[in-house]
């Protein structure tokens, strides 16, 4: 049976506003527990929510970036359930009138984008004296009320790696919009996945399960892979998939059912009477539109149009710091091919690892100048990368001077290079003979000899030309 997976994602991203969604407490970044609370986010009797304008602005930016339809009027609902991390006994969320609907990112369609408040943090602390024998937990309300945006996709993804790549694109988009810095390890992006399998081409969807609360790109991939494998094994053995909510444990790789003892959830949604409708006006839309810069998906397309490889286009689009550096090199360069400049920018990225180019001593103009020296044959690619670029990254400076100081300038034919070629041919008569006989590969040992003799300063193309010339080919 050829079973095709279908995957939809629900992603929660914490927004980087200064204050919480419904109160003026500052967002918390590791402050001591319960020091960022007020009557509103503690759910004290009589306290009322007031919506943070910036959360709406960010929501509209996201909606705009994803090509959503922005609802002229949207409202908040109360989602009622009891849990210690939920101070009011309900979460303020959006239900049937979300801020944005429709849209797409890449080739994945967006169902809706809505705003809601985050829950507080519940830390298990083990057995307590007070509650005999049973476990006890501590609630820290610092995180409670942080604004979240929830993005729900249509089931347009079909394998785990595709889901991982798409999620990375979404994260890069959020980061570039400046609405969230998406620190996944700190839980600022959390992803649920709906997974189902059905015979390919059947046009039907199988029974789906929901994987909850995965907080890294690789967990998302591994979790989905595990669930696809589980469902495949079930279906291939003739069993059925049961609709359920699952938790993926990244340490063990196990999937466990979150079978709650609770009755089927009945959230008793109703319009939040303490908040008034959000009516989007032209000015708000305009402001959001202006705040949205170029997005990763657009950037990838533009880079590919410039002739960059798909790999480099993705690399620069997803790492905005790298993308901006490349743009700066591009504008400093005079006539060099963007593809060449991208290759050199990728060398920079490889040399720096996780660090951004801004954190090194390298100026974009210096890299452009170095690429120009290479292009002009003034320095060979090898020493340009290993010697000059390395020095530029650590100390900065002028590439031409470094070439001079390090003595790595290219050799030209009328100086030592012709002699070196002659010496190499003399050293490898067998190779010269086979080359004459038409075996093009035989040139290898001769060029290698020249390179060694010139410590890599010679230009490979020029050496080849001189060898051929000398052998009368």
């Amino acid at each position: 049976m050829n079973l095709q997976p279908t995957i939809g994602l629900e992603i929660h991203v914490q927004l980087d506003t200064r204050t919480k969604m419904f109160c003026a407490c500052e967002l918390s970044f590791g402050e001591p527990p319960n020091t960022r609370t007020c009557p509103v986010c503690l759910g004290l009797p009589g306290a009322l929510p007031v919506l943070n304008a910036q959360s709406i602005h960010f929501g509209l930016m996201i909606g705009h970036a994803l090509g959503c339809e922005l609802a002229p009027q949207s409202i908040f609902h109360r989602k009622n359930y009891f849990y210690p991390d939920l101070p009011k006994g309900f979460q303020i969320s959006q239900y049937d009138a979300p801020l944005c609907r429709g849209g797409s990112l890449g080739d994945v369609r967006i169902d809706r984008v809505h705003l809601e408040e985050d829950a507080a943090k519940l830390n298990h602390v083990g057995v307590s004296g007070r509650i005999h024998g049973a476990g006890s937990s501590i609630v820290d309300f610092n995180r409670g009320g942080t604004p979240l945006v929830e993005v729900v996709t249509e089931p347009d993804l079909h394998d785990a790696e595709e889901a991982r790549v798409w999620l990375a694109l979404l994260a890069a988009t959020m980061r570039q919009l400046g609405v969230s810095d998406v620190r996944m390890a700190e839980g600022s992006l959390r992803c649920d996945a709906n997974v189902s399998l059905a015979p390919a081409g059947s046009g039907e969807l199988g029974v789906k399960t929901e994987l909850k609360n995965m907080n890294s790109f690789s967990f998302v991939k591994r979790g989905i892979e595990a669930e696809i494998a589980r469902q495949r094994a079930l279906l291939e053995s003739g069993a059925e998939v049961v609709q359920q909510t699952l938790h993926f444990d990244p340490r063990s790789g196990n999937l466990t059912s979150l079978r709650s003892k609770e009755e089927a959830h009945d959230y008793r949604y109703f319009p939040e009477p303490d908040l008034v409708p959000i009516a989007i006006d032209e000015e708000m839309v305009q402001r959001a539109r202006e705040a949205v810069g170029e997005l990763p998906a657009t950037r990838i397309a533009r880079y590919e149009h410039l002739g960059l490889s798909a790999e480099h286009a993705h690399q620069f689009a997803f790492r905005p710091a790298l993308g901006s550096f490349f743009e700066a090199v591009l504008s400093a360069a005079d006539g060099a091919s963007p593809r060449e400049l991208a290759t050199w920018t990728a060398h920079v990225a490889a040399a720096l690892g996780e660090r951004d180019p801004d954190a090194s001593a390298l100026e974009p103009a210096a890299l452009a100048a170095l690429v120009a020296l290479v292009g002009a044959g003034r320095v060979a690619a090898g020493p340009a990368r290993t010697v000059v670029l390395a020095r530029l990254l650590s100390q900065g400076g002028d590439p031409a001077r470094i070439v001079e100081q390090e003595g790595v300038g290219a050799l030209d034919d009328d100086a030592g290079l012709a002699d070196a070629v002659a010496a190499a041919i003399a050293e490898h008569p067998d190779a010269a003979e086979r080359l004459r006989a038409g075996n093009a590969k035989a040139i290898g040992p001769i060029v290698g000899h020249v390179m060694r003799a010139t410590k890599g300063r010679a230009d490979g193309g020029e050496v080849t030309r001189l060898v051929h010339e000398r052998l009368g080919l």
Binding site: P39, L42, G43, L44, P45, G46, A47, L48, P49, V50, L51, R78, N80, F82, P84, P87, K88, G89, F90, R130, I131, H132, G133, A134, G135, V139, D266, R268, Y269, F270, P273, D274, L275, V276
Partner: protein
């Protein structure tokens, strides 16, 4: 001081004129509140915590104010009449209370109330029933029963209450005082422990219409902490009208027929005649959906309350009852079972049911549509009339315990007041004589934000009613120095 001031307005004038000091008035009220036998208070300030000299320069000149228990007052018990909040002391003060204190009111006491404002008799308080000062065997009405009783008994010049379906107007009527339920959104709800968010409004309970206007004038305003509050479109002046010339009053068939007891009806008819004598026209009219208001109200209010009261879970404040099996679930359900009284449980159950899966459309959704129709009925009526007149309560004060075993009968007490709550429009109850020796109220209703006109009309009626109202005036319990030999009688 020969006789205690009858109203807050008179007290402010007396202090301004140097005939009375704010301190003297405070001490007299503080003593009366301490000696209270009506169970009107859940907390009384110390005698030493009265107004200072500077208060005299403020608009309210330092005169005492009693505040319904459900208003949060920083560091002072704010229990909403519930066991689940026994001795709860909030870290902040409700906006409306803050505004009144800033205007120079002195917080004398917190008043008893039906638990979380759910009730029409004040018998649902975890702190005991409040007695009606006109007949201690009877209820003062509810849920602002403590405020109404305290003001009617003369212990405080005025008090703050809240009205969700009649909780200011009905006790004002049953205690023979003035009670104003403002337009929804006119006063901030921030710091009012919520019952039903889309209906709750703070309002004054006073001994005169002028006092209601005075207190209300400092309560209004947009509060950045309450998204549903609005700036009042005009200043609230003291009402001065003595006539109703040219005004048109409508009397809705649906709220003045069946179910209104004979004495209340007689008083109502007398006041209708009075309205005409004062130069206004009176015509019968229809509010076709008003008979459905109670049903819609008893879905919407419980639904909102079931959600608003979910925060009382034994985690952050208030009562906690530990579970025997150590489970969170049991801690929740036992805490709430012991913390809430019978009526609150009933409404939480009703509201949870009305919102639950499969019933939302039939109950909550439908009720919201009925609400639309009720608001439309009023809008249509106000195209023809300036004001609508009804009795405030279909009956005078009933005996303690008379309706406690029949929730539906209790709910019917709100029959005349609930439609205005659903429509969010202002309504005032003013004393309208007596039925069987017990006070009866007249309700005057206007369109949204018509309070200045409404207060003016009520003032004219109050003047014209003076003779009939006198019959139910109670002696003041206040004692002043040089007046030690007993309570001064009412001024008249």
């Amino acid at each position: 001081m020969s006789a205690p001031p009858r109203t807050a307005t008179e007290a402010v004038e007396a202090i301004r004129a140097g005939q009375l000091s704010a301190r003297e008035l405070w001490l007299a009220c503080q003593a009366a509140a301490t000696d209270d036998e009506l169970n009107a208070f859940t907390w009384v300030a110390d005698a030493d915590d009265g107004p200072n000299e500077e208060a005299a320069a403020l608009p309210f000149a330092g005169i005492p104010l009693a505040v319904k228990d459900l208003f949060c007052t920083e560091g002072i018990p704010s229990q909403a009449g519930s066991r689940i909040l026994r001795d709860y002391r909030p870290p902040y003060t409700a906006t409306v209370v803050r505004q009144l204190l800033d205007a120079g009111a002195s917080l004398l006491a917190k008043t008893n109330q039906d638990e979380f404002a759910m009730g029409s008799s004040n018998e649902n308080s975890a702190y005991g029933a409040v007695l009606n000062p006109h007949d201690r065997g009877r209820v003062p009405g509810g849920s602002s029963g403590g405020s109404a009783a305290a003001v009617a008994a003369g212990i405080v010049p005025w008090a703050l209450g809240t009205d969700t379906g009649g909780s200011i107007r009905q006790p004002a009527a049953l205690c023979g005082i003035v009670g104003l339920k403002p337009t929804y959104g006119a006063c901030s709800r921030y710091g009012m422990i919520a019952f039903a968010s889309s209906l709750d409004q703070a309002g004054p309970l006073t001994r005169s219409v002028a006092d209601a206007a005075l207190l209300f004038s400092k309560m209004v305003g947009r509060d950045p902490c309450d998204s549903t509050s609005l700036a009042f479109p005009e200043a609230i002046e003291l009402p001065r009208s003595e006539r109703l010339d040219g005004l048109r009053f409508g009397v809705p068939d649906e709220l003045t027929g069946e179910g209104v007891e004979t004495g209340v009806r007689a008083a109502f008819e007398a006041s209708v005649a009075l309205v005409e004598q004062l130069g206004a026209s009176v015509e019968r009219c229809q509010l076709p959906h008003a008979p459905h208001a109670l049903a819609a109200y008893y879905l919407i209010a419980p639904a909102e309350c079931s959600s608003n009261l979910a925060r009382f879970d034994g985690v952050r404040y208030g009562l906690r009852v530990d579970s025997q099996d150590g489970s969170l679930e049991e801690m929740y359900s036992r805490t709430r079972a012991e913390g809430f009284g019978a009526e609150v449980k009933r409404r939480v159950m009703l509201g949870t049911y009305a919102l639950s899966s499969g019933y939302y459309d039939a109950y909550y959704g439908r009720a919201q549509r009925v609400r639309t129709k009720i608001a439309e009925d009023f809008r249509a009526a106000f195209e023809r009339f300036d004001f609508i007149l009804t009795p405030t309560s279909p009956t005078a004060a009933f005996e303690l315990g008379a309706r406690t075993s029949d929730p539906l009968a209790m709910y019917l007490s709100d029959f005349c007041t609930v439609p205005m709550s659903l429509a969010g429009i202002p309504a005032i109850s003013i004393p309208n004589g007596a039925s069987g020796g017990l006070p009866v109220g007249l309700q005057v209703v206007g369109p949204a934000f018509s309070e200045p006109r409404l207060l003016d009309a009520a003032h004219a009626l109050e003047l014209a009613h003076a003779d009939r109202v006198k019959t139910i005036a109670l002696p003041s319990p206040l004692r002043f120095e040089g007046n030690e030999n007993g309570a001064a009688g009412a001024r008249e």
